[in-house]
Homo-oligomer: 240 residues x 2
DNA sequence: GAACATAGGAATGATATGATAAATGCGTCA
DNA sequence: TGACGCATTTATCATATCATTCCTATGTTC
């Protein structure tokens, strides 16, 4: 962003102008730069502020409206909604929140969601998934093992493992959590790995999940994954 | 909608024009009237089809894009994304899907999500919720009991009960699932209640949850809720 | 004849400006 | 005093035009 006497022009070299305005205003709302439950500047002011035409600004606002960050009414203007209306399941919003401040409490809340979701996904996967889908989980583990030897990226390997389980569940809702988990795990793993941790234990825990899945042991796989996540949560809560 | 020789004009008396186009095109995509993974008509054609200016049509498309239903590129046009990219956690999309055909399998998948989420919410609520939040759960039960005597609406009372538990969890992600659960439960309850069912059993199961919550019994509350949902799921799977 | 450069075309992206509709407050008139 | 109408403000809708992108097809060169 180029700051120029209070005027901000989003760089249109990086992607489209509308998208960059969505990014900027969205992040500003999420980080509290526009006070919640209060009025936004009127369209015309935002236009001059971002040096954009009304159309492009309106399209950006429509997107933010779809994400639940703002509501607009004629004559009244556009208001920022209260945080409890924000759709945390939108990866954009989550990314803005996590990027602004790596809130440990938010990561713990996210881990609690994983603790609910992932064992169920493993259970469904053990029951219903086809061989190819389970192979993807094993592949994810193989990548983690390779990363441990320095032959792969540990972050993306770990994410691939957990994503593969969601995919294998066959449940469309759980599959739709992939972008969310991907976004949040990027921050979460980076955080937990920054704490001293036994990599072998972590690897073994993941292996146990993959192995139980291959054996089609629904409760075993769910239990193993649950234990893995409980350890992760403990790691975080001990830091509070 | 007024059909007029292939042209459709969304009624702008009911809400805003943009919103009605989003509704119409979104529902059309979700119900397969625009073939998935294929090109949409170009902007100009959609404009004449919906008798709308390009501005409003573009704003509508931006919203659909934000929901993950379409992607647009210059020169190439707008393409419908494959269903695995649709954000089922967007209440609009879920509503369009459920309204189009009350797909039992989708409801079962949704129940599996509830089976993962709600016991965790109850557990967190038993541990952390303040008295007022727990009172809301009890109030929800009271409404269900009143509805059983004909003094309240059974559907909204049931929804209020489950929503209150999500709210009481204190977990921002789980709280964000309220609109989703509200939308899906509207269809789900309507379906299960259409099957012969013992209302007293249902009421008693809900009572057990509320009672365990008041007692701050985390595992007890989670278990009771889990049992309630297992029964619901059985009711549905038996119909497959 | 094949590889590369280039010009054209078709679609979305962005801008500018005018007209319309809705919500609110204020003033006027019964 | 109270109800109604009007002006004002702001979002919403419409239209016209230019910019950008990127595929396609046509040459042009080696």
């Amino acid at each position: 962003m180029d700051i120029d006497g209070g005027q901000i022009r989003a760089r249109n070299s990086l992607g489209r102008l509308t998208q960059s305005i969505v990014d900027d205003v969205g992040a500003a709302i999420v980080t509290g730069k526009f006070e919640a439950a209060s009025m936004m500047p009127i369209e015309a002011d935002l236009c001059t502020r971002y040096q954009a035409s009304r159309s492009v600004l309106r399209e950006a606002m429509k997107v933010l409206n779809a994400k639940g960050l703002v509501t607009s009414r004629p004559r009244l203007g556009t208001t920022v909604t209260t945080p409890d209306r924000w759709n945390l399941f939108d990866p954009d919003i989550l990314r803005w929140m996590l990027r602004a401040d790596i809130s440990l409490s938010l990561l713990i809340e996210f881990t609690n969601v994983r603790l609910a979701i992932e064992p169920m996904a493993a259970e469904l996967a053990a029951r219903n998934a086809d061989a190819a889908a389970l192979q993807a989980v094993t592949d994810g583990y193989a990548r983690m093992a390779a990363a441990d030897e320095g032959h792969d990226d540990p972050l993306t390997a770990d994410i691939a493992f957990h994503i593969a389980i969601l995919e294998a569940s066959g449940n469309r809702f759980l599959q739709r959590l992939k972008p969310l988990v991907e976004t949040a795990l990027t921050f979460s793993i980076r955080y937990t790995d920054s704490i001293a941790r036994n990599e072998q234990d972590k690897l073994a825990a993941h292996h146990r999940v993959a192995e139980r899945l291959r054996a089609r042991d629904a409760t075993g796989a769910a239990g193993a994954l649950r234990q893995l996540l409980l350890d992760t949560r403990d790691l975080m809560t001990n830091r509070l």
